[in-house]
Point group: C2
Chain length 358, copies 2
């Protein structure tokens, strides 16, 4: 055990109340100080992660190596008294398991072979995909086995539209191609979304079976969607995903994170059936508390840039987020993933600020 480990555990368990703080907030409880975790908390800003990552040739191989992926999850927990661990994986393991060729190009993000229309029906085998994803569930089991009782374990997946966006466009940059597909061949896109709903529901259910305490659905491409497309490609498939998840017997809370959805977050929160909402950097806490269903847990939304700057800007920014959500069921997080140039010392300062107010 790390010399700081005892102190860290004391900080986490400080309240003395029953249950993991993150799960209590997800059930609508308002805590005096919010639980905290950080999107991409296991990641490149940590030197020990970069060292670990170097042991595997490709990023996907790393995701599929339970010992390595689980170790990545534990790294930030040894440094900071965070309230949650999140599975180390990628939203593109789903298309990968469905038989698409996925590769990650250094500095450019993921690449997939662009999808052609008939493909949608040809390759879709959710059951086989889940079998191929067995290493991911083994990772969840390993994390669960090593996790302190107070720390919640979050499973996750990309939302159907976000994953479809990658599949339809091949790579990150050309978002228009996916939107164009919805206009030009809506039936094909619906079929693809249905396939992703089914596969993603099973993928999330398997993570819960392996030990995940709650789930997050990343809708990373909600930005700039015209309302009719937002309804068709984001709200409806997420609704279906939630219904299918519940149908599979999964009852754990689900956080939806529709990044860049602007005021459309309200429709998303009301209609999809998710239990909590992740808010991106641009959302005003006061607006969210008024516009979203009362009592719904809210997660977010510090500007990640502040973790590269530190100092007064960071403390002040953190205090503004804390004040904005005071009195609401709030999970402290960033409004976007932590960046590789963030300083771990700033992360430590942030966690202390959030947990102890100093």
């Amino acid at each position: 055990m790390n010399p700081n480990q005892k102190e860290i555990e004391e900080k986490r368990g400080g309240s003395g109340k029953v249950g993991k703080p993150l799960l209590r907030v997800l059930q609508g409880e308002v805590l005096e100080r919010p639980p905290i975790w950080i999107m991409r908390q296991a990641g490149r800003y940590l030197p020990e992660y970069r060292q670990l990552r170097a042991r595997s040739k490709s990023f996907l191989d790393f995701c599929y190596a339970p010992a390595l992926a689980a170790e990545a999850v534990f790294q930030p927990l040894r440094r900071f008294p965070l309230d949650a661990a999140i599975l180390f994986s990628d939203i593109l393991v789903v298309p990968d398991a469905l038989g698409r060729s996925v590769s990650f190009v250094e500095g450019e993000g993921p690449r997939l072979d662009p999808l052609i229309a008939e493909d949608v029906w040809r390759f879709g085998e959710p059951e086989k995909a889940i079998q191929r994803l067995a290493p991911v569930y083994e990772t969840v089991e390993r994390i669960k086995a090593g996790l302190d009782d107070d720390i919640a374990l979050i499973g996750f997946a990309g939302a159907p539209w976000t994953v479809a966006t990658y599949m339809l466009q091949g790579e990150g940059g050309e978002k228009d191609r996916a939107r164009k597909a919805v206009y030009q061949r809506p039936a094909d896109v619906d079929a693809l979304l249905d396939l992703l709903v089914e596969t993603t529901a099973r993928h999330l259910a398997a993570q819960v079976e392996a030990g995940a305490d709650c789930l997050q659905i990343f809708e990373s491409w909600a930005e700039g969607m015209p309302p009719p497309l937002f309804e068709r490609a984001i709200v409806r498939p997420t609704q279906k995903l939630m219904a299918r998840l519940r149908g599979l017997g999964v009852s754990v809370p689900v956080i939806g994170f529709p990044r860049g959805a602007g005021a459309q977050i309200a429709a998303y929160a009301r209609a999809t059936g998710v239990d909590a909402i992740g808010l991106d950097t641009s959302v005003d806490p006061a607006w969210a508390r008024e516009a979203l269903p009362s009592g719904m847990a809210l997660q977010g939304n510090l500007d990640p840039l502040l973790l590269t700057l530190g100092g007064d800007a960071l403390s002040h920014g953190a205090d503004q987020v804390l004040a904005g959500f005071r009195g609401a069921p709030h999970i402290f997080n960033l409004g976007h993933g932590i960046t590789p140039d963030a300083d771990p010392a700033h992360v430590a300062a942030l966690v202390t600020r959030v947990k102890d107010g100093v």
Copy 2:
């Protein structure tokens, strides 16, 4: 006169009522069919524009050539019965006139020398900048002289934050650099914003003096701004700009277009003093009508992608926008500028759909 010109004029003046339709809507009037113009309606999707543009070596030279810039403005009006002409210029003429080196790199967008701190005070001379911008006002005069009575002439400028973003970062891609500057040296950024408020107010006032009937302020970098920065760098400077404009005796209506601002549009609409709001593609008309001050004219917000597709997708999309704003003071437009791959035939079909419902 183009053979279609008479028919086009009849379509425009069809209502028989007094005043330019666009200005009537900006004053809060609800018309049976909304007036329409298209952001970047003078632009690369028109072959005659590409031909005209080839006569000038650099894009900024083109902007500073009144005969060429005015001709670009008239080109789309000869094709389509649009209700407004917009000055052909660029938001970066302001930093250019303030002495920054601006250049446009084909396919990459604008480049400016990055700003260093003391620069902010060193080069700021609003009066000299306005003198340098004389060709822009001559362009406005030329457009005004050739414009049909029913067509409104829109002047424009970039909002202080959007222009500052370009000045602070040097080029389009690296948005973080400007946001970082607000955190790291807020006083410098405030000084820069104040300089831009003063210069932009005078620039807009000069356009009105030359004949502009109304104005649009482009806030193209409102996206992803944390609420405290949105308030400091967007709302406050726009407030100051509006107050200064009114102080200079400018009374024409002003459309604010805070692109990507999401739910923060509501704060922008309430606090800045603009008369009307341009809505980007992602804004739900129903939400805007409820969240923004009652009776405020709303402009937007068709997905520009539909002008590359045409057909049923375009008609259906246009009808959804029309229905969404029916009963409100509405100016039909896109939610973002028209793209170079748009088909002029689709633009013609859109204008007919909006004006005649067929």
